[in-house]
Point group: C2
Chain length 155, copies 2
DNA sequence: TTGCGGTTGATATGATATAACATTGCGGGT
DNA sequence: ACCCGCAATGTTATATCATATCAACCGCAA
């Protein structure tokens, strides 16, 4: 069902399904899913790996070169509405695999092929936070390692 | 015992103890704890919050302005030997609270006062990784929120 | 029409990080 | 003493990531 970048699958279906879901969510919520925003999400969905803001900018350049804020603004829209996620470790962005579902995302990042899988994060810091009286508002959880294919290739 | 930045404590003792521990570890392991490296760790230990590379650079400038690689090289030394940690969310660095102990660090970052506490991370993503056949080599785990003092002040 | 809010376009700048190469200082072998 | 190799440092330039600012545009409603 959900997209697993580490294994062969019909990714065109993931692409179409996600874009349709975001279309619907924006309509529901009264958000403007403008052409630029849609194109950026489309690029993220087509890319085999996380894209930096300037990667996106370059690929938008079909329409003539754009300035950095164009990419950052579209990404801000997508991230703040839960349609994409930022990877702090990579300074890069991926499309969300479950837009609309409330979820705390975690990421598995292959250091060899750069593919990224979105996983569901457990709540592991709650205990430490409670002990210190800390109120958690958001969590970054990103694992770096090797995907199955790259681990096989490396052995 | 270990340093808790969210509560008042005799931090000078933390500072001295950590610096001494790192001195000893470097001697044991045949690492060169040079003046620059020591000064950078000292700055990290004294700072109430995580420091960016350029913050450090500026504070080293007592000796005359240095170029960025000076800071980055010292930080690389400290991070790769486990004497400091990099916070991906902040592009900044903190001294390790338990140098020498093997540990998987997690961080609690107060968005109001910018103080950072190091916690012990559980092994969180192992289940998700196993399901996908992913081999984890390193994990970034950083929670953003409010420390007790700032939460009280905000209510 | 006029004003307003949200989006986009464009220029400039700020902040973070690394490449590349020269230089220094120190120990080991000759 | 000399040379060598190696690790650390110094220095310049550049790459990469991100934001401030202001102008222009567009759909909508008072
Ligand atoms: Zn998601
Ligand atoms: Zn891979
Ligand atoms: Zn630590
Ligand atoms: Zn605080």
């Amino acid at each position: 069902m959900s997209c697993d970048p580490f294994h062969r699958h019909d990714h065109a279906a993931c692409h179409d399904r996600t874009l349709a879901a975001v279309d619907a969510l924006c309509a529901e919520r009264g958000l403007q899913f403008t052409p630029t925003r849609r194109e950026v999400l489309d690029l993220l969905l087509r890319a085999p790996k996380a894209l930096g803001a300037y990667d996106i900018l370059a690929q938008l350049a079909g329409d003539g070169a754009k300035a950095p804020p164009v990419a950052y603004r579209a990404l801000d829209f997508l991230v703040s509405n839960g349609f994409a996620h930022r990877l702090e470790k990579l300074n890069a962005y991926v499309a969300c695999a479950h837009p609309g579902d409330a979820h705390l995302p975690a990421f598995l990042i292959c250091r060899a092929c750069d593919r990224v899988a979105e996983a569901d994060a457990p709540r592991p810091l709650n205990k430490a936070a409670r002990e210190q009286g800390f109120t958690i508002e958001g969590v970054v959880m990103e694992a770096v390692g090797l995907c199955p294919a790259c681990a096989d290739a490396a052995e």
